[in-house]
Symmetry: C2
Subunit: 333 residues, 2 copies
């Protein structure tokens, strides 16, 4: 058995632009997996990587692209909330996915169903799930940021940076951010960053060292920054690498790391098992949703595009000119 | 003001054998620092490194060598136990030191005073502190080993390995150990290791992979094993590097680490501040002392030598033929 759905299919795996709206099927929901009618899907850089063939879905996951979405539960199929209360047909939900968001229907394990933050639209909720779970799990569950700590975000003007700056600020941290233009640094400042570093003109490691070092570094650069990140680290600090835009292989000076008693983690959300994801989702809802609801973290949509224009949406994201999220709207026929 | 003491002084900093018993002075104890009359001092590899000029004491610490000892409190000077009860003159204690153990007298912050495990001699207690605090802090407080996990000890036949194998076994982990001879592997087996690897003949990374990977690796090799340790790691695993016998700089493949969601920490005990040390000591006494007292961990002294023979003691340790600890006895005149 399977569910028939319309979804974005890559008709030519060599061509990232060959994304077409077609009829296909997805696996039947298992007990504890809700069937969700998707209204909006958030667009992430990871989606563009998958279309380019660089970021395959975990084994057993649909090939349909899309890591986050929001919509309405069609069939809860026994899915319950963390407190044990049941989800009902018609309940609005945001969803964290291993894939399959660019689709009319998605099957979602109960641990990856999130309530809509109060005051949020479905489009806003659809596009905040991935960044919220990513930032919370990395800076809090992996690196255990504490009040009074200093945290450094590379790419402070990007989606993860802007969200992270606000979250870290709300948690009582001193926030440093790097970016490549004064305009982006201005954005970082507006969202609450205390220490602004133009990486094209300044040495972030020196500047952090002057400020006593970073207790946590959330890094999307990888190899190119490995040694400088260690220089920038405070004693007992933690570097969390979640991207490798600056390369995969770098020299690690273990003595230098040991002098700081430093920690390096390289993590991602997508390939975690569903127990892990459920734990992260529950912690994120518990800790981050109140900050979305009271406005301590603001979330900005750049544009909403029809799902049929997905190739154009990816192109816009890759052009790097977009501040805020691109959201795809699915037809509700 | 200062305290006059006899201690081991390095008369020629270029010559690790120029260790002589001489009269010197140490700083007066501050409030909350006990003055301890030392009876026995444990000998560690780190002591030999310090004598070779490679492991300087933390700023503000005496130049006198010696990281662990046991003796009798001469003046508690207000020092209390973690529960707030006072130490008294005449109380027997083991001590964790940043330096200064090879001395008739040492001043010791209250957080680094440990009770003698029931049934232990002062000589045994003097030589179990450093290894117990090192292994507990690294495998539990840093890497958070859990029951049912697999842990790999490199150098399983050494002091840290033998202690670690027993502790991990007592905690319900599956234990793997590498060593360079069948004789040493036999020792590892005797202390409870399940997976024995002769690193001269076998590929530890392959063998661990066959066993599902190591959740925790306690590593004393550093650069030479960096990449193979990542290969050997289980998903979400943690490599803790506490030695660099195989070099300081190695290539880190971040993508490979990210595929495992791996963590690398490089740590040490000596340069931590006294709050950190007090925390580690308290946890070690609470969790490890009962295992010493009930025999789940056995601790073996190889020989007790007079402090005047310290140069010979260091030579014996460096020759690598010693199983069990060397302990120095201080004259009680």
């Amino acid at each position: 058995m399977s569910i028939t759905t319309n979804a974005i299919i890559q008709t030519d795996t060599e061509n990232p632009s060959s994304l077409a709206w077609q009829t296909t099927s997805i696996a039947d929901p298992q007990p504890g997996e809700a069937l969700v009618r998707i209204h909006y899907a958030g667009v992430n850089r990871a989606d563009t990587l998958q279309a380019q063939g660089h970021y395959p879905p975990p084994r057993g996951t649909t090939d349909i692209i899309g890591l986050e979405a929001a919509g309405v539960i069609e069939a809860p199929n026994g899915a319950t909330r963390p407190d044990g209360s049941p989800w009902h047909p018609g309940d609005e939900v945001a969803v964290l996915l291993s894939g399959g968001g660019y689709s009319e229907y998605a099957t979602v394990p109960e641990g990856q169903l999130l309530p809509i933050p109060a005051g949020y639209s479905l489009a806003e909720a659809a596009s905040v799930v991935e960044v919220a779970c990513t930032v919370w799990s990395n800076i809090m569950m992996t690196a255990r940021l504490r009040e009074g700590d200093t945290i450094l975000f590379h790419g402070g003007g990007g989606g993860i940076g802007i969200f992270g700056i606000q979250l870290a600020r709300a948690l009582g941290a001193t926030v440093a951010a790097t970016a490549g233009s004064e305009e982006k640094l201005h954005v970082c400042r507006r969202y609450g960053a205390d220490i602004l570093i133009n990486y094209k003109e300044e040495n972030f490691a020196e500047i952090l060292t002057e400020h006593g070092g970073a207790d946590v570094i959330l890094d999307i650069i990888g190899a190119k920054y490995l040694d400088r990140n260690i220089t920038a680290l405070a004693p007992d600090g933690h570097i969390v690498i979640i991207g490798m835009q600056g390369g995969v292989k770098g020299e690690l000076n273990i003595a230098k790391l040991l002098n700081k008693r430093g920690n390096i983690s390289a993590t991602g959300l997508r390939y975690r098992d569903k127990e892990d994801k459920a734990h992260i989702v529950a912690e994120t809802v518990r800790n981050v949703w109140p900050l979305l609801e009271n406005g301590q973290i603001t979330h900005h949509i750049n544009r909403i595009m029809p799902i049929a224009e997905v190739a154009a949406a990816h192109k816009a994201l890759l052009a790097g000119e977009v501040t805020g999220k691109i959201v795809l709207e699915l037809p509700q026929s």
